[in-house]
Symmetry: C2
Subunit: 256 residues, 2 copies
C-alpha cells in the first residue's frame, strides 16, 4: 500500500509545490514507484513537470465530478517510476466546485483507496489552506511534510497545521503523523533563519529534518523553463538537498 505523504501548511509561498515535485522525483530516482498528486487549484505541478494544458487529459476534479475514472487521469512522466495526477489551473467557478465537493472531508479518501496499491509513495501537493482538499487528504495520509520559510509568519502557521492534524488524528485518522518539518529557501546568514531554526529545534526537535533546503535563485529561474530544479540543475545545492531528503525518507520507511 502506497505511503501517502502530504506536503502541507496553510502558509503561502514556502515551497510546498517545489518540495512536492522535487521530492517525488528524488524518491522515484531511488527506484520506488511514486504517484504525484496535485490538490491545489492553482495547478502549478503540471508546468513544473513540463506539462502544457493541452497534454493534460483529466484531473482530480474530473474524478470528483464522476466525469473520469481515477485510473484514467494518471499521466505518465519522463521517469518510468513517476506517475502524475495534475490539476488544471482552476477558474473561479471550478474553484467553487472543488470547494463544494471537498466540504465533505472524506470524498478524496473514498476515491483514492484501490488505485494507489501499485505505488510505494503518493506525494501530495496541497493549497495554502486548512479547509478543502488539505483536510481531505489529511483524513487518509500517513504523514505530512511541513515546509517552513524563515519568518514568524511561517512558524505561526506550523502551530495552526499541527493543531489541525491533532484534531484529524484523534477523530478520523489515527495513523497520521508528522514526517518532518522542513526548512526551505534557507539563508543561513540571516537573523530570521537563526531565530526560526532555534525556535524549531526547541519546540519540535523530533520533527525538524536535519536536511535543510537552501535558498537558490535557480529554483525560481527553473520555473521559466518548465522544469523542477532537480532536472534544471542537478548539481544545485537545493537539488542535492532534495535528493538527500528523498534518500532519508526512503531509508526511514524501508526499515523492516
Amino acid at each position: 500500500m502506497g505511503k501517502i505523504i502530504a506536503i502541507t501548511t496553510p502558509k503561502g509561498g514556502v515551497g510546498k509545490t517545489t518540495t512536492a515535485v522535487n521530492l517525488a522525483i528524488g524518491i522515484a530516482q531511488n527506484g520506488k514507484r511514486v504517484l504525484l498528486l496535485d490538490l491545489d487549484g492553482a495547478g502549478q505541478c503540471a508546468p513544473t513537470l513540463g506539462f502544457k494544458s493541452r497534454s493534460i487529459n483529466g484531473d482530480i476534479l474530473d474524478v470528483l465530478s464522476f466525469k473520469k475514472s481515477f485510473k484514467s487521469v494518471i499521466h505518465k512522466t519522463s521517469d518510468k517510476n513517476l506517475d502524475f495526477i495534475p490539476m488544471r489551473g482552476l477558474d473561479y467557478a471550478h474553484e467553487l466546485k472543488l470547494s463544494k465537493f471537498t466540504s465533505d472531508e472524506l470524498i478524496i479518501k473514498s476515491i483514492l483507496s484501490d488505485e494507489i496499491f501499485s505505488y510505494n509513495y503518493v506525494i501530495v501537493d496541497c493549497p495554502p489552506s486548512l479547509i478543502g482538499t488539505t483536510t481531505n487528504i489529511l483524513m487518509t495520509a500517513d504523514s505530512t511534510i511541513i515546509p517552513v520559510k524563515a519568518s514568524r509568519y511561517s512558524l505561526n502557521e506550523v502551530v495552526r497545521i499541527l493543531k489541525h492534524m491533532q484534531l484529524v488524528k484523534q477523530n478520523y485518522n489515527s495513523k497520521l503523523k508528522v514526517e518532518g518539518i522542513l526548512l526551505t529557501m534557507y539563508e543561513a546568514h540571516t537573523r530570521a533563519a537563526f531565530y526560526t531554526k532555534k525556535i524549531l529545534m526547541k519546540e519540535f526537535p523530533n520533527e525538524l529534518f536535519n536536511i535543510v533546503i537552501p535558498k537558490n535563485v535557480e529554483v525560481a529561474e527553473a520555473t521559466f523553463h518548465n522544469k523542477p530544479i532537480i532536472y534544471y540543475n542537478p548539481e544545485a545545492k537545493s537539488s542535492i538537498a532534495y535528493k538527500n531528503l528523498a534518500e532519508e525518507i526512503v531509508r526511514r520507511n524501508s526499515i523492516p
Copy 2:
C-alpha cells in the same frame, strides 16, 4: 467615501500581508485616514502591528456572525490616522464558518457600507485564494494591488486573478480596476527577476508600478519583533519603497 484597495493574488507568500500593513502605514503617514482590514484567516496583520491575541476584542468573523457591530471591532493603533480590523488566527472550525458565510459573495459588501465613510482609504489583506473573502471584497473594492514575486508561478496567478476581476467587473462591480501590479522581494541581479519584469512590461505595461519593493532580509527579521519593516527599520530600502508607493497612491487619487 473611502477608497477600497484590496491586496490580492491567489499565489501564496508573495508579500500581500507585508504590503497591506506597510502601505496602510505609509498612507497614514501622508495624513490620510486609513482603515486596515484583515480578511485572511491566518490573521497575520495583528502580530505585525504588535497586537497580541488578548488585545484583540473582536474581528470581522464576529461581525459576520452578528456577535459584534462593525464599529465595535475597529481597533485604534499607535498612529492616529490608522485604524485596524484584525482577524484572529482561525482554527479549522472557524475557517469553515468563514468559508460558509462568504460563499454569499455580497456579505462583506453589505456589512461595510456606512462605516467606512470616515476613512480616505481602506486597505484590505486577502488570503491566497480566489474564493471566499477575496471575491467578497472584489464585489465592492475600487481597485487591487497584485503583488508578484519573481517566478513563473506568480505570473500564472496574475492571469488567474485578472480573469476573475474581469468577471466581477462585468457582472457586479463596474468600478473595479487594477491599481497596479507590484514587484515584491525583488532581486534585480537574478534571471528570474529579469524574465518576470520583462514579461510584465510587455503584457501589462500600464498596470506595472514603476516602484519595486526590493528583497530585504530585515523584512522577515522584523516579524520576530512584531513590527512591520516601516517601523522596524524606516531607512531599509523596502521601507523607503513602501513610503514611495504610498505617496504615489495618494498623489494619483488626489487629483481633483
